[in-house]
């Protein structure tokens, strides 16, 4: 479920970085007030534990296959939502840096998808709700299972939305949803079973660990109103801003302009306008959407074909030759640096 940089656009990556940074800053503020120093090593070591636990293969009964856990929900249950979110963020940062697992620009997306939903949606709204009247094996099982399923469904839907709004993949939204959601339902079952088994065991062996962290005494309780507000902001960012960028149809202003003047845009003078327009086109951080939507024709007409870059055999050949030349030059440059350094070292000795 880790998104790669190659699949996102700068706007989606940047917006998700901003949302994630906001949630992280809020978490830091919340735990900074009531976190005792003793919890700091626990957060670090628990993060490392989940990292290691992610590598364990769990045999799935009656299927012959195996699965592994994400650990976001387990961290939220052990550390509370705020510390759990920060622990998940640090795991994902290390994975992005050291293991090429998810990109650096996509890190905001990944922390949100794998950290926000289990810690700030599934944990308070599902797990805590079910276990608030006291703990029992049945409640822990039901709470962990439902929370894992819901958290992962939200996370995978988020992946689909972020990929869709980035516009790098041609996968239609519906097909992508139909591919992702059922797979993550199965993954959620494994996540829920493992989390329930571990939490159930720890509750039997050391009940105070589970009670202390979920009671919210040391790490702060979470306000449902604030969760809903954060979700509303995220939804507005994805649904509102992204779709405005991504829309193949004109926005409200263009629509009203079309109705008023019969033209989508008012005629602009040449000169500096064209230069700036060309520059803006180049700099557009949503190039994929601009490419297909740059239509000289009226976009209001139903069934209008999207524009397509000109196919030209000469340009294609020049591009291929130039590309091969660029690659060769890059390799030669690298080899020259290696040879120069080796000669320099030998002469130094």
């Amino acid at each position: 479920m880790h998104m790669a940089d190659a699949l996102i656009s700068p706007v989606v990556g940047g917006a998700m970085w901003a949302v994630t940074a906001g949630v992280a800053a809020y978490s830091v503020k919340k735990i900074g007030n009531d976190l005792d120093e003793q919890k700091i090593p626990l957060m670090g070591v628990a993060g490392a534990f989940v990292f290691a636990a992610q590598m364990i293969n769990f045999a799935i009964p009656a299927t012959g296959s195996s699965g592994h856990i994400g650990g976001g929900l387990l961290l939220a249950i052990l550390l509370g939502p705020y510390a759990g979110f920060l622990a998940m963020a640090s795991i994902l940062t290390i994975q992005a840096l050291f293991f090429a697992d998810g990109g650096l620009l996509a890190l905001g997306c990944n922390i949100f998808n794998l950290g926000f939903y289990p810690c700030f949606v599934a944990y308070p709204l599902v797990y805590r709700l079910i276990t608030r009247r006291g703990y029992s094996q049945r409640r822990i099982f039901t709470g962990a299972m439902l929370a894992a399923l819901i958290g992962l469904q939200f996370g995978s839907l988020s992946v689909v939305l972020e990929t869709f709004f980035s516009g790098k993949s041609e996968l239609p939204f519906g097909t992508f949803v139909m591919l992702m959601q059922p797979i993550h339902l199965a993954i959620g079952v494994v996540e829920g079973l493992v989390t329930a088994a571990v939490v159930g065991f720890v509750w039997q062996a050391r009940p105070e660990i589970i009670k202390r962290t979920t009671s919210g005494e040391t790490l702060g309780s979470i306000s449902i109103k604030k969760v809903l507000a954060a979700l509303a902001i995220a939804a507005m960012m994805t649904g509102g801003i992204f779709s405005w960028f991504a829309s193949a149809h004109p926005d409200g202003l263009e629509w009203s302009m079309y109705n008023a003047s019969g033209k989508e845009e008012l005629a602009a003078p040449g000169g500096i306008y064209h230069t700036l327009a060309a520059l803006q086109e180049r700099l557009a951080f949503f190039p994929d959407y601009s490419l297909k939507n740059q239509q000289e024709t009226n976009t209001f007409a139903v069934g209008t074909n999207e524009s397509w870059p000109t196919v030209n055999a000469g340009t294609s050949l020049a591009g291929l030759v130039g590309g091969v030349m660029t690659l060769m030059l890059a390799v030669i440059t690298g080899c020259c640096i290696y040879m120069f350094k080796r000669r320099h070292k030998t002469s130094g000795v």
């Binding site: 996102i8 840096l97 620009l105 294609s316």
Partner: protein
């Protein structure tokens, strides 16, 4: 078990590489982080049909890898791990986008194949950039940069502690899983009845370890901050490094170098 060994090997290798003393390693970590971020933004700002335009950006990882004495093959191997996801999602492009985009005398290429190749190339460049950054900077100096960028102390501490204890816990989990595998029937992982007790015991040991860690930290005068060491100030050379790459990335973004080069060559040949 093999993925645990690979992870440990990978972490130690990148730690060792980060301790080298080359011209790239000596560049200020903040400058390296900023250059990487700019590079990544430039890469993803290209649209999905711009393939040849992206190629000149490969100079950055190649030159940095060569100057920093990094093992190219190992980095490429690491990079391949991320490829199944890119191929899995990108391969739908040729299926859904079949209109001809590139026409060569001997073949035609659809828009879907162009965008698929563009995703793969972007994947290569972005993954290499992240690996090159960590292999020439190291986690401690990255943490120092986060401190300079006013990232809250508690997150930096959390990041460094997690990183420090990954090796310890991966080893412990690895030993436990190996011991389990030696005593169990041939199963594909931990069997269902043992999920709770096995992972639960590991978790309880982890929590006790955290308490011991805290006590030992207190014995060494822990005051709530993880010292990342002093980082030298940004020098003129560092600024030139950033400016040089910045200008190059901008030139690549605005001028299609391969197309210009190709037109020149094909024009001369004709």
């Amino acid at each position: 078990m093999s993925n645990m060994t690979t992870s440990l090997y990978n972490i130690r290798l990148l730690d060792e590489l980060a301790e080298k003393k080359t011209i790239i390693h000596n560049i200020h970590p903040l400058i390296k982080v900023l250059t990487t971020v700019l590079y990544l933004i430039i890469i993803v700002s290209f649209n999905k049909y711009e393939l040849s335009e992206l190629l000149p950006l490969i100079f950055y990882p190649i030159i940095v890898i060569a100057l920093a004495d990094l093992p190219l093959m190992i980095l490429l191997k690491r990079m391949l791990i991320a490829f199944p996801l890119l191929i899995g999602i990108g391969l739908f492009n040729p299926l859904f986008d079949r209109s001809t985009m590139v026409e060569l005398p001997w073949m035609q290429l659809s828009g879907g194949w162009v965008s698929f190749l563009s995703i793969l190339l972007k994947g290569v460049l972005t993954i290499l950039a992240a690996l090159v950054l960590i292999a020439t900077t190291g986690i401690t100096r990255i943490a120092a940069v986060l401190g300079m960028l006013r990232v809250p102390r508690i997150f930096i501490l959390q990041l460094l502690l997690t990183y420090r204890y990954i090796s310890v816990l991966v080893e412990e989990v690895g030993r436990t899983v190996r011991a389990y595998a030696l005593r169990s029937r041939r199963e594909k992982g931990i069997s269902f009845s043992d999920w709770g007790p096995l992972i639960g015991h590991l978790l309880l040991r982890t929590i006790e370890r955290a308490q011991r860690v805290y006590h030992s930290m207190c014995c060494r005068g822990f005051t709530g901050a993880y010292h990342t060491g002093s980082v030298s100030r940004v020098r003129t050379g560092d600024v030139f490094y950033f400016a040089g790459w910045g200008i190059y990335f901008m030139v690549v973004r605005f001028i299609n170098i391969p197309a210009t080069l190709g037109s020149l060559i094909t024009g001369v040949v004709r």
